[in-house]
Amino acid sequence: MTATTPGGWLLVLALTLPAGAMLLGFVAGGRHAQRIALGALAIWLAIALAVALQVQASGAPLAYVIGGWQPPLGMALRADGLAAAMLLTGAVVLLAVALFGQGAYDTPRGAAETRAAYAFWCFLPALAAALAAAFLGGDLFNLFVALEMLTFTALALACLDGKPSQFKSELRYLLFALIGSVLYLLGAGLLYGAYGTLDIALLAGRTRADAPTMVAGALMTAGLIAKMALFPLHFWLPPAHAGAPAAASALLSGLVVKGAFVLLLRLWFWVLPAPVVLGGGTVLAALGATAIVIGSVVALRQERLKLLVAYSTVAQMGYLFLMFPLLAAADADAASRAWLGGVLQAVSHALAKSAMFLAAGLIAVSLGHDRVTSLGGAARVMPITVIAFALGGLSLMGLPPSGGFTAKWLLLRASVETGQWWWSLVILTGGLLTGGYVYRIVAAALAPPAPGCVARAVPRPQELCVLALAVASMLLGVLPLYALGLVRVGAP
């Protein structure tokens, strides 16, 4: 029995405010769309903060029963620590990207509406609504709709430039993502057939390790990891994310893939029964480990900065899967650490990677290219951007005092404590390789400019947006541990 908790209305607001803003912006268009989006995202951040504070204060998940119709017939929105943390991350990144996007997608007073600006300012609140639906949704079918919202938004954002070269990689992304969604839906259908409900809270603890449940679990998992670009299903991500405009890449790599991640966690640690999780977790972690190593090595060998950052996303997503076998372990302390580490990795990667993509975009704009070998002089023209990139890189490597450090440290500790020490070797190797490619960029950017290289200065406000994201990913690491307790609220 789910009951609406005090403050549950915040969840409704978190979902409806960006959706309404998107619709209004869609109708009003032009300059109004921009204003509406900026205003809505600022308020959305306040709402996300309020949700997080409320969850932290009450120590229990928030819930809202929609229309008063109890699940299983009706549906509920829920915000546990995971949802609250991800919502807050999404709000921070979105607002930063929106402020960043004011540079490229500004519609001055009296100017005619342009395609890219209109789409950008409509899809920012759209992404907020999609993320809210994915993080807060309590019903597996409703989450399917949220997944599709995310897919459409991601597609449109990636095509913002209207570059011909982008259409092919986006089409590949769209088709693959749609297949992923359909597999997810197929599994959801089986679960409904087996249990007569798709409400996550009702399914929790009621599922059996029988054929329908396992097949549903396998199908839904495969669909979700296809959307998360876990190796070997990663082929669509690098070209799609690298080819998109910087602001879009930041959102795609930082946030969109995390939507599927939250769904995967809900599926595995709420819905699927323990024996199934125990068996399958190792496979996921093995794929994740492969992704870390292969993604990092391939990133190390990229000649284009944005492709390098995109492959780094493939590698970093691998870390998220290391938590699966650790969480299934018997040691409760270690499991709790693994949970915290995994979620923290998602959050810190969202912040760091969006900063890195925005920085890469600024570097490309300034130098007129993004060839890794000739980034010389970048640090002189835009020291703030290069510092932000380096800070983001430190977080990816897992060096203190970054958020990535805390995340990887917790995962490492959990892997040693549960006796699955081999994952710690992967974390170590991944950190070294990450250090390698981040170092490659930073060293190249610090080098003196090549003769004949003309670098344009970039707008300071944009640089500061990037820096803010990078610093946020750093601050995550010095956040006192009790603040991280938020993530533990309602953990499995």
Binding site: L233, R301, P401, L412, G435, Y439, A443, A447, P480
Partner: protein, 531 residues
């Protein structure tokens, strides 16, 4: 009293932050020398400062001051102060330099009083990473290349330490991350050897133990003179305090003491041999640092082997002398280059004295330092090894003096300003005198420094230095960072491996392969779930 401890890293940090205000910029630049004053005060108060334990968010941070820490802290504070004064005369006021300087200083001083894994790591990382800014200060291509190498190896060291600390924290009883709690179980814990290896890698990189020393002769000479002085004098000591704290004689797993000793002596000899083939006086000094750090490594290693409780203190005392003397020598190079041929009168006497001190010429501070480690390096074969190293050091340091005079002879004549002379002279005198002042705390047998086996290597080295003058120019110059060349040769197999991984990844890129993978993942997951 214990509230003084946080001031050690925080005062430089606060000054660094103050640089952000344009109004305060010039003023901060003028008092760069004052940043380490709290550190010096705290070091002088050793024994009266209780540890400071602060609880923050479930994490217990500890700052403490013990005798080895105080020796190193005090020495480093003197060096930072003198070099800070020198920097103002040498570079003028450069806010960017001042920022890196203060940031590095904050970490470099903080590491000597850190009492838990978290604050130790933080201080260590700040000192290492901010040091990059000092290396590339000159902005030349060579400086950036050196800086890039420095950064790479610093980060590698960080990662090794990070994982060592992770293993330490896991192995500790309870949730404490105080060094005193996590180190004792190391000797018996199952992952002890891995931890020890990672610790030696991390700290060895910082100290420059062969073959991890490659960055040191590249990076130290690239920096401007005062920065070279602190890099070679103070920052490498973060590695020394690390070994002292994390591999105490009762905590190290079996075998690591002798391993450390062997590597220490190897480093000591390698530094001498490679240094003798160098032309640039700053590079010779950097190799001398490598060699001296090797001796300290050997001291700590033998301390573990022989189970000598005070070996940490002895190593710190030895390091203190090195800090002051090496700093003075680096500053002296700057003075020599500024005075040109006049250096013969000005610089030569003190430089000779300090140089011979490294060999152990009594009654210099260096001889005292050598006497202090006699407990560790005074028996049997080890004594012979130590004597050999002292002989090598003498030879190397005289080679340095000669190279410095050569360089000075080519420089235009001039007069050194008091801003350069003062700090250099002060530091040099301190290197000669301070060890004597501190003797009561360390308790070295002064008599031993007059013994034949202590003096003979110096005399022999000095005797051979003259013929080496002739040969030195015929020896082909070894590239800075010597074995780095080998690492470059290893690039080919690495390249092939990288290409193979890339080819493997490319196999999954076409649509059919990805689609097949998706179906295979469904079936594979199902099989795994069904057990």
């Amino acid at each position: 009293m214990s509230l003084l401890l946080p001031l050690v890293p925080l005062v430089p940090l606060a000054m660094c932050l103050a640089l952000a205000w344009p109004g305060a910029r010039a003023r901060v630049g003028g008092v760069l020398w004052a940043a380490p004053v709290p550190a010096l005060l705290v070091a002088l108060l050793v024994g009266q400062v209780p540890p400071l334990v602060a609880e923050a968010g479930g994490l217990r941070l500890t700052l403490l001051l013990d005798l080895p820490g105080a020796l190193l802290l005090g020495g480093a504070a003197v060096l930072w102060g003198a070099a800070g004064l020198y920097a103002r005369a040498y570079l003028g006021h450069q806010p960017r330099f001042a920022a890196w300087w203060l940031l590095t200083q904050s970490g470099s001083l903080g590491v000597f009083i850190a009492g838990d894994l978290g604050s130790f790591y933080l201080a260590f990382a700040v000192a290492s990473l901010a040091g990059f800014g000092l290396v590339v200060q000159d902005g030349t291509v060579a400086a950036f290349r050196a800086g890039a190498l420095y950064l790479l190896l610093a980060v590698l060291g960080e990662i090794a330490l990070l994982f060592a600390f992770a293993l330490l924290a896991v192995g500790a009883l309870g949730d404490s991350i105080a060094i005193a709690d996590v180190v004792p179980p190391l000797a018996t814990s199952p992952g002890g050897h891995v931890t020890a290896l990672l610790l030696v890698l991390g700290f060895g990189l910082k100290m420059g133990l062969v073959p991890l020393h490659v960055w040191l002769p590249v990076a130290h000479p690239a920096a401007p003179m005062p920065a070279s002085a602190v890099l070679s004098g103070a920052i490498v000591k973060a590695g020394v305090i690390g070994l002292v704290r994390f591999l105490p004689e009762e905590g190290a797993p079996a075998g690591w003491g002798s391993a450390l000793a062997v590597f220490g002596f190897l480093t000591a000899y390698w530094g001498v041999v490679a240094g003798l083939a160098q032309r640039n006086p700053k590079t010779v000094l950097a190799y001398s640092t490598v060699s001296q750090m090797g001796v300290i490594g050997a001291v700590i290693g033998m301390g573990i082997v022989l189970d000598i409780g005070a070996s940490g203190l002895h190593a710190a005392f030895y390091a203190l002398h090195h800090m002051l003397a090496k700093g003075a020598l680096f500053l002296g190079v700057g003075v020599a280059l500024a005075t040109g041929r006049g250096a013969r009168r000005w610089v030569l006497p003190l430089a000779l004295l300090l140089a011979l001190g490294f060999g152990g010429l009594p009654p210099t501070g260096g001889a005292l330092a050598k006497a202090a480690v006699k407990d560790e390096l005074g028996a049997d074969l080890v004594a012979l090894c130590a004597a050999l190293s002292a002989f090598g050091s003498t030879l190397l340091m005289l080679h340095f003096v000669r190279r410095m005079m050569d360089a000075a002879a080519e420089a235009p004549d001039g007069r050194a300003t008091p801003g350069l002379l003062g700090p250099w002279l002060g530091l040099g005198v301190a290197a000669l005198v301070v060890p004597w002042l501190l003797l009561p705390w360390v308790g070295a047998d002064v008599g031993k420094m007059w013994s034949l086996e202590a003096v003979a290597p110096v005399l022999l080295g000095a005797a051979l230095a003259w013929p080496w003058r002739r040969w030195a120019d015929r020896v082909p110059e070894l590239p800075e960072g010597d074995v780095l060349v080998l690492a470059r040769r290893g690039a080919a197999p690495r390249e092939a491996l990288g290409r193979a991984v890339l080819r493997f990844e490319t196999m999954f890129r076409p649509w059919p392969a990805a689609g097949l993978s998706l179906l295979a993942v469904v079936l594979g997951l199902l099989a795994a779930m069904a057990g």
